[in-house]
């Protein structure tokens, strides 16, 4: 596996916080998420539904619907500049050009009222100084690259004339047409059937390697992570609980949640005798969460301190980080317990 630490850091997310105002209180969808993406690296964001994966990425692009959502803290440094502080105009220059996105549902993500050609050409011409004819040639070229048969003719079709898998290919072609530095893929295969899933993932992998594009891949499928990602961040209740190079994560999972996730992947080699493992309980409601490890009600290894304070981050080595009390020394736990007791008083 390639060592990406030597590459340039192109995206640095630091302490990102995105909150939603709801009638029930403030929903902390993303609460202090940090990670870095190197040039050409594929980073996986894994977690259950509702853990804040998508909101993290919408926040990076400043696409969180506001109101009710608001990014209240943190930094998203791209190319030395904080995206969260940019003007609308600077932001538009980043979106679709430097960082582009593909979404979960290809059936609704393309505009049904406009031809594929219109939608692709407008993207290319928005960010590149080319004539309409050149842009069209470029679009056809991209469609051929993603495996659309007869792209010269198909480009003048409307989205509803394509199947789901083909539409996702079109989305990928559109997203990569400006040679973006980062491709954010928000569960790109969830809405597709299994055979198509593999094709689409292969396509993303091949094209991003070709263009040296970094990928942030959001998924809840650990199989996808194992096949695609260089690095994995496991998210739970709006925070990253463990991040590590992929191989290390599968071999030595440190957080009990990660262990649970890996254990709940069906295995083909055990003869089907064992019952599939599942993590008991439900993810917590992230509205007005008290200071504690949000995973503790479902954790098999929980301790007293887990209910009183959020665990600090431990570094197993340079690349493997985990937020769990299991790796704290006794002294630290005692100090934290004392502190928690003081706060309560």
């Amino acid at each position: 596996m390639k060592d990406f630490d030597k590459e340039k850091v192109i995206l640095n997310v630091e302490g990102l916080q995105t909150y939603f105002k709801t009638d029930a209180g403030i929903l902390k969808a993303v609460d202090g998420v940090s990670f870095v993406v190197h040039e050409g690296e594929t980073v996986g964001l894994v977690g259950e539904s509702g853990c804040g994966k998508s909101v993290t990425n919408l926040s990076i692009m400043r696409l969180v619907p506001s109101p009710p959502g608001k990014t209240v803290g943190g930094k998203v440094i791209f190319d030395g500049k904080d995206i969260l502080q940019m003007s609308e105009k600077e932001l538009r220059n980043i979106r679709g050009n430097k960082i582009s996105m593909i979404f979960q549902d290809p059936m609704t993500s393309l505009n049904p009222f406009l031809k594929i050609s219109t939608q692709m050409i407008e993207t290319i011409r928005l960010h590149q100084d080319v004539t309409k004819k050149e842009a069209r040639e470029k679009a056809v070229e991209m469609l051929r690259l993603v495996g659309i048969p007869k792209p010269e003719q198909r480009i003048d079709c409307y989205p509803h004339q394509f199947s789901g898998g083909m539409r996702q290919r079109v989305m990928i072609a559109m997203a990569l047409s400006c040679h973006a530095k980062i491709l954010i893929a928000d569960e790109p295969t969830t809405a597709l059937d299994v055979t198509i899933q593999a094709q689409i993932l292969e396509l993303i992998k091949a094209l991003t390697e070709k263009f040296n594009t970094a990928v942030i891949l959001i998924t809840h499928d650990l199989g996808v992570v194992a096949g695609m990602c260089d690095k994995v961040c496991v998210m739970y209740a709006g925070r990253i609980v463990e991040s590590s190079p992929t191989e290390d994560l599968f071999e030595h999972p440190m957080h009990p949640y990660t262990e649970g996730l890996i254990a709940s992947v069906p295995k083909l080699d055990d003869g089907g005798k064992e019952k599939l493992f599942s993590i008991e309980g439900q993810p917590p409601n992230v509205i007005d969460l008290p200071p504690c490890c949000p995973f503790h009600p479902r954790c098999r290894k929980k301790m007293g301190i887990c209910q009183a304070m959020y665990p600090p981050v431990y570094h197993k080595d340079e690349k493997h980080h985990v937020a769990c009390w299991l790796y704290a020394s006794k002294e630290e736990i005692d100090n934290a317990l004392k502190e928690a007791r003081d706060v309560r008083k």
Binding site: R92, P112, L126, H160
Partner: protein
């Protein structure tokens, strides 16, 4: 597409024939007749009148006679306005109603769509609240209040426009006579269109493909007019068909207040008078307009939404 258009046009003929047949019989079910007054007619006079209008014949024969006349383009004599036949009455009033209705609809469309879009884009600001308040007023305040109020303010106090008259009749005054009735009539339609536009624009702006457009780095104005407009206009277009037919015949209040010789008066009065031929005549006009408008709406729909194809 051409095949579809021809098919639809041919399909209109039986629709209209059925409407004529139904209305011919339904109006005769209503108690009373065109010649029932307070004064009891003598037997001889009654017979004479009935013979003149063929009321003494069996109903089926009357129907056949009427249908034959209608197919020749003759809507028959009016039983109430004895100097004129139905063709003359409708022919004189329909153009006024069409002009008034079209102007009112144009005004309603321009303001309804532009303010509706502004309201959706600037949701929960003054630019949203003000047009929507206006729309709520337009929906809730009846026309017989709005119209005299406009006369009171703009005619009696400010003297900008005349109170009554209609520029298409001889000696009816200039273009100024058209302003107040147009505004009054367009008000309720503005309200509907603005609210429809706002809600469907809001829904469209929340859709996934708009998020895609934003993620591509498109400008807000491009997103609204190029990406969202077509989808947002669909409900408005389907509303326009029946609304346009309704605005032509439903302008009775405005016509009465501003003394405009329009079709709306006959629509209401003919029913009270049991003026059978005039009722059916107006119904025919109304249904032809409605059927044509619905046809146009379907065609426009297919132009807007590529997912709809007609064969």
């Amino acid at each position: 597409m051409t095949k579809y258009i021809i098919k639809r046009l041919l399909g209109m003929i039986p629709t209209i024939l059925i409407i004529i047949t139904l209305s011919f019989f339904i109006v005769r079910i209503a108690p009373g007749g065109p010649f029932d007054g307070e004064r009891v007619l003598t037997e001889a006079v009654r017979r004479n009148i009935e013979a003149r209008y063929h009321f003494d014949e069996p109903l089926v024969k009357q129907y056949a006679r009427y249908m034959f006349d209608v197919l020749r383009g003759d809507l028959g004599p009016s039983y109430k306005y004895k100097d004129h036949d139905v063709n003359y009455l409708i022919g004189n009033s329909l153009p006024n109603s069409i002009v008034l209705g079209s102007m009112a609809m144009a005004v309603a469309l321009v303001f309804g769509i532009s303010l509706g879009i502004t309201a959706a884009v600037k949701q929960n600001t003054i630019l949203d609240y003000f047009p929507m308040c206006l729309a709520a007023l337009g929906l809730s305040v009846p026309l017989f209040v709005v119209a005299p109020l406009l006369q009171q303010i703009f005619s009696m106090q400010l003297h900008w426009f005349p109170t009554t008259g209609w520029f298409m009749t001889t000696g009816g005054g200039g273009w100024k006579t058209a302003v107040l009735p147009t505004i009054a009539l367009s008000f309720a339609y503005y309200a509907d269109i603005a609210r429809l536009t706002r809600s469907s624009m809001l829904e469209t702006l929340r859709s996934d493909y708009i998020r895609t457009a934003k993620a591509k780095g498109m400008k807000n104005s491009t997103i609204i007019f190029k990406h969202a407009m077509k989808g947002a206009m669909l409900p408005v277009v389907s509303y326009l068909g029946p609304a346009f037919a309704g605005i032509l015949t439903g302008s009775i209040v405005v016509e009465q207040v501003f003394t405009i010789p329009g079709l709306g008066k006959f629509f209401v009065q003919s029913s009270f008078n049991r003026d059978y031929t005039l009722i059916v005549g107006v119904v025919i006009v109304y249904s032809i307009i409605l059927v044509i408008m619905n046809f146009i709406v379907d065609i426009v729909y297919a132009q807007l939404d590529p997912r709809i194809t007609y064969k």
